[in-house]
Symmetry: C2
Subunit: 326 residues, 2 copies
């Protein structure tokens, strides 16, 4: 399996010799295997490895035992490890608990990476997680971008285990006589993600297609390729067609009309991203409103308001402007 | 609902006044509603409508009753109708029964369209069918192209009901006091498609997301946009990079290398389609073999055989050639 993991890291250019990594280490089988694997490469690849364990304090004694396990293993491997304790009041908002924990996890990993000036954040997602996330996002109703969320490399985050199955991980740990911790809350059906893992995916495998996980991951990879192509083309279109103005961006109605719908949609999102710095509150509906305004010949001077943005037509120009803070 | 259907046909430019349609009429609720709807437009749109009923003879007396129902309704509406009887030996091959029936159905509809010199084949798929087909193809393991299989307009086939839910169809029929036939075999869990409709989708709706059908259809529409964009871009690449030769097609290795993976994959499929007239036997694996051959620097003169096609490198050229029938 070490060989397979090395090939995967090589093929996806996940990291290079002499680089440094912050590893998210929960003590579960995946991150334990990840730590073992990276530690195995450490000498020959001259890697610098820092472990980060987060104690969410949500499972009382079990949480404390996870923490102890991680520190013990770090000591045995002589790897530096740091503890972060989650305080439930530290992030608020309306997101559900699962989302809040994930946001907290990635933000702590990123803080640590910056502090250590490390190259990458490594996390232990497997091929099973990838299939599961795909279904999860599909069922929630994600667009193309949402469906390809779990990438082998995404910004500073790398996922060296994404090419292997969970059962390979377990076999590897057994072979290495390496113990690990099991998070009981992963067995709870309270979270829909757990239900997808423990009920839906096994049911689909049993009743419909034993190869479903591999199929979903193949599809995801293909969609990722297509999405990257579309993103690249959209950037080109942006440079070609969209002009910077003092108060935002503008483009000719004619050039917008000549694009295919996929290009129009993608370009709209890129303009909004450049205008607002994010895509929050930009629903699919906003795009359809824009379409109606631009493609209709009846209404010459309509306008749309999206949060802090005003979009309107001025003769043959479309104007995307940000409202000034007053 | 008539208004909604008209809007849908108009928005997707499904057919024009004065055109003629062959309608697949099974007697079930969907095709019955479709016939009613088209007949309603007949006068004002000056449509020519021909009905085609296929008796598969698989359900004995029930099949015969379906046939009688269709002929009676055709007579009432004064629409011409034709009967085709399915003979199980008429199409062979290894495909399962469901696939064979579908192939038979579309080939008979196309024969009739040609004979009548009609513009379109209209079939009664609804939004529910669309969500179901999406999941069916997803679970089987389709690529992007496979996922967008059920289009409002695909070649000569149009689907005027694709924008409405099954329950709207049933309400419409009730309002019109129009009876219809129920195919009991649609209630059988023998076919995985039926299982998806009767078990999986209701379960996903209940346990995960009540809006799942709409979400899947939205996603499908978005993927269709992306797919259409991709097809158009690939055609551009083809015209730019691929040269016709006596024995097939050729392109420069350098130009292939400079493309993104999505472009390479899509261009490869288009070349194979132009060479063979179809994409049968072109697996994802064939693409990876091609990649290995072209992108590797070690092996200068490898070749790949795919059914009737030979692909090889000649210096800096890649040659796609069809083997002559001997």
């Amino acid at each position: 399996m070490i060989k397979k993991l090395q090939n995967f890291c090589f093929r996806h250019k996940l990291f290079l010799p002499n680089q440094s990594l912050v590893v998210g280490f929960s003590g579960g089988p995946d991150s334990t295997a990840l730590v073992l694997f990276l530690n195995h490469l450490k000498k020959s690849w001259k890697l610098k490895i820092f472990l980060l364990h987060i104690n969410y304090g949500l499972r009382g004694k079990a949480s404390l035992a996870d923490e102890k396990f991680c520190f013990k293993m770090a000591k045995k491997l002589a790897l530096p490890i740091k503890l972060v304790t989650y305080k439930s009041f530290s992030t608020g908002g309306s997101a559900n608990l699962e989302e809040r924990l994930r946001d907290f996890r990635y933000s702590e990993l990123e803080k640590e990476r910056e502090k250590r000036k490390a190259d990458w954040i490594a996390v232990g997602h497997t091929l099973d997680d990838s299939a599961e996330t795909f279904l999860f996002n599909l069922i929630r109703g994600a667009g193309l971008r949402g469906l390809v969320a779990l990438r082998a490399k995404n910004g500073k985050i790398i996922r060296p285990l994404l090419g292997v199955r969970k059962k390979e991980i377990l076999a590897f740990l057994k072979e290495k006589k390496q113990s690990f911790r099991l998070d009981k809350s992963n067995q709870s059906l309270k979270f829909s993600r757990n239900r997808i893992r423990l009920q839906l995916l096994p049911e689909l495998e049993k009743k419909y297609n034993p190869q479903i996980k591999k199929r979903l991951v193949d599809l995801q990879e293909h969609l990722l390729d297509v999405e990257e192509w579309l993103e690249r083309e959209t950037k080109k279109l942006f440079l070609e067609l969209v002009r910077k103005e003092n108060w935002g961006w503008s483009m000719e109605r004619k050039s917008y009309e000549n694009l295919s719908r996929a290009e129009r949609k993608s370009l709209f999102r890129l303009i909004m991203f450049n205008l607002q710095g994010n895509l929050k509150n930009i629903s699919a509906n906003a795009f359809w409103e824009l379409e109606k305004m631009i493609l209709s010949n009846k209404s010459k001077n309509q306008e749309i308001f999206l949060k802090k943005t005003r979009i309107y037509r001025q003769g043959e120009k479309i104007i995307f402007s940000i409202k000034e803070e007053e």
